[in-house]
Subunit: 337 residues, 2 copies
């Protein structure tokens, strides 16, 4: 295993599968920096997320799944702004140069990059504890982006996909997730449920397509990474409103209903994080059209609450924000190994 | 020490010192992503560099110096493209939330950000082994960027600043740098030399001002991060030319002359890396004007070689590329603690 940095880049990163042709990219991997041409009238949308081994994923997880998750959580931020993915940079630190690991990582990255037309344009590779820092760039029409501060009393709150499967996915990996428990040890769960949870955790689906189609009908949006209550709380704070979530309306997947108690499911949805679904608010007059757009994509879409003149995000009257995920005070930190 | 993620961001990162007013920044820290407006006729230049504790800096180094170095090496990539710094994102993983460390880190970051008008627009904060992944964004006039592929036979090769002080700085920290030795143990070096090496390592000066002023006279450029021979080799390869460096012309600082043998100095310059000076090629007709521009900035500028019709970068006839820094095959990897 005597791969040089340059050889690693040539074999696994400066490859056609990751170098997607886009007229906006004048210069990609290979120089001191990449050069982008932003079309007139468009805005550049920029977001960065880092995943550390042992914190955001188990160190021994499959490399292709780690790559998928790392890019997906970044694309999810673009979805939350209703931005079309353009390109990304990758700052990767690896404890060693393992060809097999790198090949799988590159393949996983290329799969998702190809699906979303998001080209790798640069980055940095070095030795160190396994971490993947990705920064994504997207484009949106000027003034059309979805910010967090557009919620107004009278609007309803909606959620794409299922709630809580990300945290149940973490639990299904055998990771300690206090208060969020499955009905059986992972190896005794139905195989289909286990596969569903695993995919929910490692291969979250960035809701880019839905966000781009539905953006004109949406008032404000966030992607659910810290748990529904915490993220709805961010919308409430940025918009100076209150948000009331209805626990009876939280959409649970068949696997969540099969494998977790109602209490665990609700806790996973509200405080578990890692779902990477879109939580947004909209005028109820748009509900029918929003439901049609989602149905056309076979995407569950559920009204889960409403915007009020109050403050903070609540569920069944309780403000549960203390239980939402936090890296430095949170229950999940250091739980992985 | 019970700081939450949100509180850390509010106290140390979403602060006026890092939120510099720029008309191009429509939305900065606080939403799912930042939004940038790129002026017509300008190109966006994007580069990412990651620094891992124990690999790129000693874990116990002062937080303000770590921050300086992390941002400086990124700004240096913008200088190498002749791009004006605009903004950056920061993906920071920390083993723990230590207010004192964070305060110093934030101050160090703000100092350099302020000097270069480079605003923090977003990022990610989480628990994990200490790593700093920064992505910088700069602007350049369309078609005015300095790429690596513009070297042509007959041009001369130039270097800003001093050669080798970065690697000697590493040695002065007591880090094992095989083949690059100081004349005495760090504690027995003259204090002024020690301070000089320390600053060279932790506070490299991105040559942005020089690059912007001199760009029209420069044919191609790279910043010296892997050692002069390796980086000149990148220019040679990208331009399909040869580069001959003259060891007699390498510019050494008074401290390097004072504290290192000629052999160590040359090795530090050619293979040591970490200098973050600009190595560029230009038509010799521009030399006088280039020297004037540098002199106006009190910046040493030295002709160190020439572009030939051959291939690869050589010094005194030898191709020493095997000794240049490489993270996975290199002599420096894992040398820090």
């Amino acid at each position: 295993m005597d791969l040089t940095e340059r050889e690693i880049i040539r074999r696994y990163f400066d490859v056609p599968e990751l170098r997607l042709p886009r007229p906006e990219i004048e210069l990609g991997v290979g120089d001191d920096a990449a050069i982008l041409r932003i079309p007139a009238g468009k805005r550049l949308v920029v977001s960065a997320d880092v995943l550390a081994a042992g914190v955001h994923f188990p160190e021994r997880a499959q490399a292709n799944l780690i790559a998928c998750r790392a890019l997906a959580v970044n694309l999810s931020d673009l979805a939350a702004m209703a931005a079309e993915p353009l390109c990304f940079t990758l700052a990767l630190t690896l404890p060693r140069a393992d060809s097999e690991w790198l090949r799988a990582f590159s393949r996983g990255l290329a799969k998702l990059a190809g699906e979303y037309g998001c080209s790798l344009v640069g980055g940095d590779l070095s030795r160190g504890p396994l971490q993947i820092a990705i920064q994504v760039h997207g484009l949106c029409e000027s003034g059309r982006e979805l910010r967090r501060d557009g919620a107004r009393p009278g609007q309803k709150v909606y959620l794409t996909g299922w709630a809580g499967d990300g945290a149940l996915g973490l639990a299904s990996l055998g990771i300690d997730t206090p208060g969020i428990e499955l009905n059986a040890a992972p190896e005794n769960l139905p195989a289909a449920c286990l596969a569903h949870f695993h995919a929910a955790y490692f291969q979250p689906q960035p809701r880019v397509e839905f966000a781009l189609a539905a953006a004109p009908l949406i008032a404000c949006a966030i992607d659910v990474s810290d748990g529904l209550l915490g993220d709805a709380g961010h919308l409430a704070a940025a918009s100076s409103v209150g948000i009331e979530l209805d626990p009876e309306r939280l959409p649970f997947s068949p696997s969540a209903r099969c494998c977790a108690t109602p209490q665990s499911r609700i806790r996973a949805a509200l405080a578990g994080g890692d779902d990477y679904e879109l939580c947004f608010t909209a005028d109820p007059a748009h509900e029918e059209r929003l439901m049609e757009i989602a149905a056309d994509m076979n995407l569950p879409l559920t009204r889960i609450g409403e915007v009020t003149a109050g403050e903070g995000a609540h569920c069944a009257g309780k403000e549960l924000s203390l239980t939402s995920f936090d890296h430095f005070g949170g229950w999940e930190a250091n739980a992985l190994e």
